[in-house]
């Protein structure tokens, strides 16, 4: 399972990086979102992949690692704030420069 999980992380990262390198803002934002998914999963996996363990304190003694979870939880929310910020930055850039190229100007032919 670990190998498959790692491979999927790799695919998500590769997809995200490819989109991140595009010239238009919208694909870049999507690439960023894909990479945040991959990063969140990666951080989460630092607590190892645990099946069927308790997440709250109970009689049953086995728990998942709460620390990466707490980290990832805030990372998800902050990631949203960042995506929103970048999206609006992209919109403002279109409003100011009339192009959605990441450099704020169309490439010279």
């Amino acid at each position: 399972m670990e190998a498959l999980f790692a491979a999927v992380l790799g695919i998500l990262t590769a997809s995200g990086v490819y989109l991140l390198l595009r010239a238009r803002t919208f694909p870049v934002v999507m690439g960023l979102t894909l990479i945040s998914y991959a990063v969140n999963l990666f951080l989460f996996a630092m607590g190892r992949l645990q099946t069927g363990v308790a997440s709250v304190i109970s009689e049953n003694g086995k728990y998942g690692d709460p620390l990466p979870q707490a980290l990832v939880l805030t990372a998800i929310v902050i990631g949203f704030a960042m995506t929103a910020f970048v999206v609006v930055l992209a919109l403002r850039s279109v409003g100011e420069t009339d192009t959605d190229h990441v450099d704020g100007q169309e490439t010279k032919p």
């Binding site: 590769a14 010239a23 694909p27 934002v29 999507m30 979102t33 620390l67 990832v72 939880l73 450099d103």
Partner: protein, 930 residues
């Protein structure tokens, strides 16, 4: 304490002339002189101790970890230099009072001068070598300011830049040398370094240390081939030249030779490098001085020559040589400072420094001429003047070395030759300026004597030249003995300061030099013609060429790196990250660790497969933005499921609600952006990006696999054990967020609120073209707010709010909490905006989201501050169990109030973002996106 005060006084004094500037020039000069005068009095009060051969030390620990301490020492050598710095400094202040013109910013000048003075005192009084290097660099910086004082002049700017580049660069080399020295000696304290002299010279790194330190010395003391900055530094006002470039700063280099003499000197390497450099500098400086037509240029090259002489003396590896060197330091400082001042007076009164035009000054300013002539004769080494004594010692020392074998005669011969040139240029200074006919075409005519007090400093210095020259034993002897024994670190050799040593070889060398000098001066016209025929030899050109090449090189790199293309930067960034991770993963013996792999189960594999596939489709269809976005949402949902599958319900809930909000946001943004992405990347660029993407993917996969298959230790045991007893909650993730790591969360919601406000600011005043049709030309549906959606959403709202209250309340003990509850509330509210429009919603739900986000951060912060009232650290939580009728026992914790802050911030920030984006193009009521 006294030592620290001596150094600190000039630094404190910097402010005085600046404040006194408005009170007039004399007041300004007096204010500038107060601090050095006080420092001089303090210094002289220590004279008894120092002359008795004792050393005064003061020490305050600063950064003991790296061996940097504020430790100071005052011994004979430091005393001598401090005396020169403060004494000549005071004379220069008096002189500058009359030298500077009325309209020039005198306060600033004195402030710079005091800054330099403090730095220079720091160099000579430091016990810690690192501290000394720091002051050393400070002298370079302050001399940059002083040389460039007339900043409107090109030569001043260029000269100061050159001086800074060379002396500052030498300072860096010195720093490296001192670091190595401290490494070898085991301490940066001078006493210990000097005591470790034998170990240092025997160490394998000794040649490196020596060369690095000498680079610092030679650049500072203008030794060949670094001498060329000094003539260009003559663009400085003459008081600066008199002070920095004859008496003090250029002496810092030779000071270091004297200071480190017991640690570094005594080897063959020392002899060859130091003495031959000194010899070359002395000869070149003396020759060049003769050919200068500029008065200050002559003095500058003469200074270079005399510094070479001092260096040569230190390089001879004899104790008497070191004594003679220190003696010559004193003598040179007195006669050269007075000569510079005299040159400044002449420049001041005639408006020119060209010796071809300044002639016959004897007639116009006899008093000044007299003073300058005595000083020039001291420079030439004429008996009954101080220059003669040290020159005799120098000549006799050149005869006492036997390192060059059959070429032993070369050093005394070259010394005599240089002595001859020295006599020649001194004669020129006297004859060409004060006699030799009438002045030619002077800017100021007729010249006359300067103001009375401008001559006082020159008189004092010339008087000292005479005094030392005639009765050395009663004047300079104790000072020289104290300084020399401090430098040599032990017993002094036998020497005599008498004027008459009998008719011996050094005296004959003096005669030969004098006769030769007169002869050279007599035949100067053919020599000048010959010199004019030479190609222009100016190291400045080579230096400028080096600078241009360097700047071009940097510009080339900058141009290659900074193309202005974000894609380019990003590719570089990713490529570097790839390289770094590869280097880090390289040493790993095998990818797979010891932990057993968990079995593959079909459903999970299917889920992960869908996630990967959706990710790939997002990329493949990225030109069709809507398709791509939908696929992205599939990935997000699968991520939420993956969290749920691997026992993280909190994360699953968060991811699910964030996913909804994110997709709504991206949909909204897409409305204003082109629906499709054009093909525009070149094949090369696509290939590059493809390779980078695959590389990053492989690296992340490898890293994840390597980590996942290895055992690990977690610190979570603490959180699990203390969650219930310490935080009063069973949901450990939530307790970590609101209690254990509450401060982090506090920061996080602050960032969230800032992002919301930032977005609001960016959207303010933004007007975008609202498309009327989709990419295929179909116009948008006319029914903006479908009835079914609107009706259903209104029913949903109370239920959704109820759920979020539920999630919020149970958060401390079961999956849930402020973050998730906030996101659920946001989704429910956004649904109202989507279904019924901004106008409709806002008129019924007049919430101020700014205030909400702000209030959230405030509540969270106040909860933290609240624990101070109970004398607990910030954000300590308290909890208790309460019996509430009908509901039963409920646990309430202060962490819940904090969580309420989180909740409010999340709702406020999310809606601040989305609601504002939704009403972006609302030009008139009813025309809105949502």
């Amino acid at each position: 304490m006294v030592l620290a005060l001596i150094i600190a006084l000039p630094f404190f004094g910097v402010i005085l002339p600046l404040m006194a500037e408005r009170l007039g020039r004399s007041a300004c000069a007096v204010a500038a002189g107060l601090a050095p005068l006080a420092a001089l009095v303090l210094l002289l009060s220590q004279q008894g101790t120092v002359f008795a051969g004792d050393m005064i030390r003061a020490r305050v620990q600063w950064l003991p970890e790296i061996g940097l301490n504020l430790s100071l020492r005052l011994d004979g050598l430091g005393f001598l230099f401090a005396l020169l710095i403060l004494g000549i400094g005071l004379l220069v202040i008096l002189y500058a009072r009359y030298y500077l013109a009325k309209q020039e910013p005198m306060g600033r000048f004195f402030a710079f001068l005091l800054l330099f003075m403090g730095a220079m005192l720091g160099v000579v009084l430091s016990e810690n070598l690192l501290l000394m290097v720091m002051f050393w660099e400070l002298t370079s910086l302050s001399s940059f300011l002083l040389i460039g004082f007339w900043s409107s002049r090109t030569d001043a700017r260029k000269g100061s830049r050159m001086a800074l580049a060379i002396t500052g660069g030498g300072g860096l080399s010195l720093l490296a040398g001192v670091l190595l020295l401290g490494h070898i000696a085991g301490s940066y304290e001078l006493s210990q370094v000097l005591a470790a002299g034998y170990a240092i010279r025997a160490h394998a790194l000794y040649p490196v240390v020596l060369i690095l330190v000498l680079l610092g010395v030679f650049t500072k003391s203008a030794q060949f081939p670094f001498h060329f900055w000094l003539p260009h530094a003559m663009a400085a006002p003459t008081p600066v030249s008199a002070y920095l470039h004859s008496a003090t700063m250029v002496k810092a280099g030779v000071f270091l030779l004297a200071r480190l003499y017991p640690a570094l000197a005594g080897t063959d390497l020392w002899f060859y490098i130091v003495s031959l450099t000194g010899l070359a500098t002395m000869l070149i400086g003396a020759c060049m001085a003769l050919f200068q037509h500029d008065l200050k240029g002559l003095l500058a090259y003469s200074t270079i020559s005399h510094l070479g002489l001092i260096t040569l003396l230190f390089g001879l590896n004899t104790e008497l040589g070191a004594v003679a060197a220190i003696f010559h330091i004193i003598n040179h400082a007195t006669f050269k400072a007075s000569l510079f001042m005299a040159a400044g007076i002449i420049d001041h009164e005639t408006g020119s420094r060209d010796m071809r035009r300044i002639n016959g000054m004897w007639k116009y300013m006899p008093h000044t001429a007299m003073l300058a002539m005595v000083a020039a004769l001291a420079m030439a080494g004429v008996p009954l003047l101080n220059g003669f004594l040290s020159k005799e010692m120098f000549f006799s020392e050149t005869l006492n070395q036997h390192m060059l074998g059959s070429f032993d005669w070369a050093i005394p011969a070259i010394a005599t030759l240089a002595g001859g040139f020295s006599v020649a240029y001194s004669l020129r200074f006297i004859h060409d300026v004060f006699f030799n006919g009438e002045p030619i075409n002077l800017p100021k005519y007729p010249p006359h004597e300067p103001p009375r007090y401008m001559k006082v400093p020159v008189e004092i210095l010339v008087f000292l030249c005479l005094l030392v020259g005639i009765v050395p034993a009663y004047t300079v002897a104790p000072l020289l003995a104290a300084a020399a024994s401090a430098s040599l670190g032990g017993e002094l050799p036998q020497y005599s300061l008498a004027i008459w040593h009998g008719l011996n070889l050094p005296l004959l060398m003096s005669f030969a030099a004098t006769a030769g000098g007169v002869l050279v001066y007599a035949f100067r016209q053919p020599l000048f013609r010959w010199y004019a025929g030479l190609p222009a030899m100016d190291a400045k050109l080579a230096f400028d060429q080096c600078m241009v090449t360097l700047v071009d090189f940097c510009r080339l790199i900058t141009r290659r790196l900074e193309t202005g293309s974000l894609q380019h930067y990003l590719a570089l960034l990713l490529a570097s990250a790839l390289v770094v991770v590869t280097l880090a993963l390289g040493p790993l013996p095998q990818m797979r660790g010891s932990v057993e792999l968990s079995p593959i189960d079909g459903i999970t594999a299917l889920g992960l497969g869908i996630m990967a596939l959706a990710g790939l489709i997002t990329v493949i269809f990225h030109r069709q933005r809507l398709v791509s976005l939908l696929m992205l949402s599939v990935v997000g949902l699968m991520v939420a499921l993956a969290f749920a599958r691997y026992s993280a319900p909190d994360l699953a809930l968060t991811q699910l609600s964030v996913e909804v909000v994110t997709i709504v946001l991206l949909m909204l943004a897409l409305f204003f952006l082109p629906a499709q992405t054009r093909m525009e990347s070149s094949s090369m660029r696509t290939l590059r990006d493809f390779i980078l993407a695959i590389g990053c993917g492989v690296m992340v996969a490898m890293l994840a696999f390597a980590v996942l298959t290895r055992p690990y230790e977690t610190i979570s045991g603490f959180f699990l054990a203390n969650s219930v007893s310490g935080g009063g909650g069973h949901n450990v993730v939530n307790v970590i967020l609101v209690d254990f790591r509450g401060f982090d969360t506090m920061g996080e919601i602050t960032v969230l609120a800032i992002a919301g406000v930032g977005i609001y600011a960016m959207l303010d005043g933004l007007r975008l073209i609202q498309p009327h049709a989709d990419a295929e030309g179909r116009s948008w549906a006319r029914d903006r707010h479908p009835l079914i959606l609107a009706t259903l959403s209104r029913v949903l709202l109370p239920m959704a709010l109820l759920i979020s209250v539920f999630i919020f309340l149970r958060g401390h003990n079961l999956p849930g909490g402020g973050f998730i509850a906030g996101l659920v509330t946001s989704v429910a509210l956004i649904l109202q905006y989507v279904a019924s429009g901004v106008q409709w919603t806002q008129s019924r739900l007049p919430l101020n989201y700014h205030r909400m986000a702000g209030a959230g951060v405030l509540i969270a912060g106040l909860t933290g501050v609240g624990s101070w009232l109970f004398e607990r650290p910030f954000l300590t939580s308290a909890f208790g169990h309460f019996e509430i009728p009908f509901i039963g026992e409920i646990e309430l914790a202060t962490a819940m109030i904090f969580d309420l802050g989180v909740y409010l911030t999340v709702v406020g920030a999310t809606l601040l973002i989305l609601a504002n984006l939704g009403k972006l193009t609302q030009e008139k009521p009813g025309q809105e996106v949502l």
